[in-house]
Amino acid sequence: MRRLLTAAALLLPLAFAGGGARAAGDTPAGGASAGEGSPGDAVSRGAYIFNAAGCLGCHTNQKDGGEKGGGQPLAGGRALATPFGTFYTPNITPDPVNGIGRWSDADFIRALREGVRPDGANLFPAFPYASYTRMTDRDLLDLKAYLLSRPAVAAPNRPHDLTPPFSWRFLVPAWQWLYLTPGPVPDDQAKPASWNRGRYLVDALGHCAECHSPRSLLGGIDPDRYLAGNPDGPDGDKVPGITSAEPKGIGGWSDGDLTLFLEAGLTPDGDVAGGAMGEVVRNTTSKLTAEDRAAIAAYLKTVPAKQ
């Protein structure tokens, strides 16, 4: 693994070149069409994006290892135990010192699309910007408008507790070069609008693949095992596959099974999701429109089966 890292580090200059080239090719596209022309201002649209992107859970220290963390909403500090060490999520309230109160629109877009902080530091990919990078400019700015409408909390950020070499921030650009393809993904015109919307919800906002796919030794998502499940997910939990495989996926689930699960956490056998997915249902999928849940189901059913 160390050799891989060294190799990655040597490729750093390329990383900048490559990243720049791709960033230049940014096009506003994507299943992103959804929401356009809808009534309401940026803040209320942003509230929906905020739920769909599942920001609240990780950025709030509500539950600390099963105990109540007692943190203020979005003030960060939640511990994320990963094979690379423990990350403590940052404050994303409008607080000017500890939060994102001073971030410009460009700062915000750069952080979520390229994984770079306003001070130029690279963000660790525990923050799922490899997914959020696919968000449209408009969704990103609506999200920012919503976040800035939330109460500021002056809670300082806690440093991460990571195992070297994963604690070496200067290696993050190498990771980004390997695993980050910046910018929205254009709609597939051959597919129905609901499929494109579903893909956008799953890949860009919902960042489902971040937990539901296995990661390489360097912490990148294995594209060949996209949504095929993760034996070593967050907090050491096994995360099931959600491709169209059967039985190790959702191949045997009807559309109604999928949408009811997303709405209420209820599985076809009458069980109710707990753990991290219970939280996702509570914070995210139960708060989506029925159309969006149906779009997610429509998309997932077309994801190639991986056992």
Partner: protein, 161 residues
């Protein structure tokens, strides 16, 4: 043997017998097999899940009749009325058989009781909705009941598999 002696002996033997009986039964309860208790809990949860599943099938229009669903809701309601102490006896946390209950369930017992007692009113509404027969209302009540299960699963259940 004088009457008194017989009486004393009889009293003593009755007392002894009673002591033995109670002692044994108390001992049996105290030494209830935790693995068995975990299995009992799984059966209870299965009953709960079966009930939820039947209502869900009806809501999704996937083969369950209104009668199946009504029976399901009754099962959910019956379980919701059980004493959580009986379902979650001490000493049945993860590690005992294939228990999936986190130790925090007992550490935060007040919370656990609060979560558990939220199930019954939801189940009552579900039962009432089924008797009313309005599908949208049933779906809504099913979701609400499911939510009460989810809060506990989220905090106190370890990941399965």
């Amino acid at each position: 043997m004088s009457n008194r002696v017989v009486n004393v002996l009889a009293a003593a033997s009755v007392a002894g017998l009673m002591f033995t009986l109670f002692g044994m039964s108390a001992g049996a309860a105290g030494a209830a097999d935790p693995a068995e208790q975990v299995k009992d809990r799984q059966q209870t949860m299965k009953k709960l899940g079966g009930g939820m599943g039947a209502v869900a099938k009806f809501v999704k229009n996937e083969g369950a009749t209104a009668e199946d669903a009504a029976k399901g809701a009754e099962a959910v309601l019956a379980v919701s009325k059980m004493d959580p102490k009986k379902i979650f006896p001490e000493g049945t946390a993860v590690g005992v058989a294939d228990s999936a209950a986190k130790p925090e369930l007992w550490k935060s017992w007040t919370e656990t009781q609060k979560y558990w007692s939220a199930v019954q009113p939801a189940a009552e509404k579900l039962d009432a909705a089924l008797k009313g027969g309005d599908r949208a209302q049933i779906a809504q009540a099913l979701g609400a009941t499911s939510k009460t299960c989810g809060t506990c699963h989220e905090d106190f259940r370890v990941k399965k598999n």
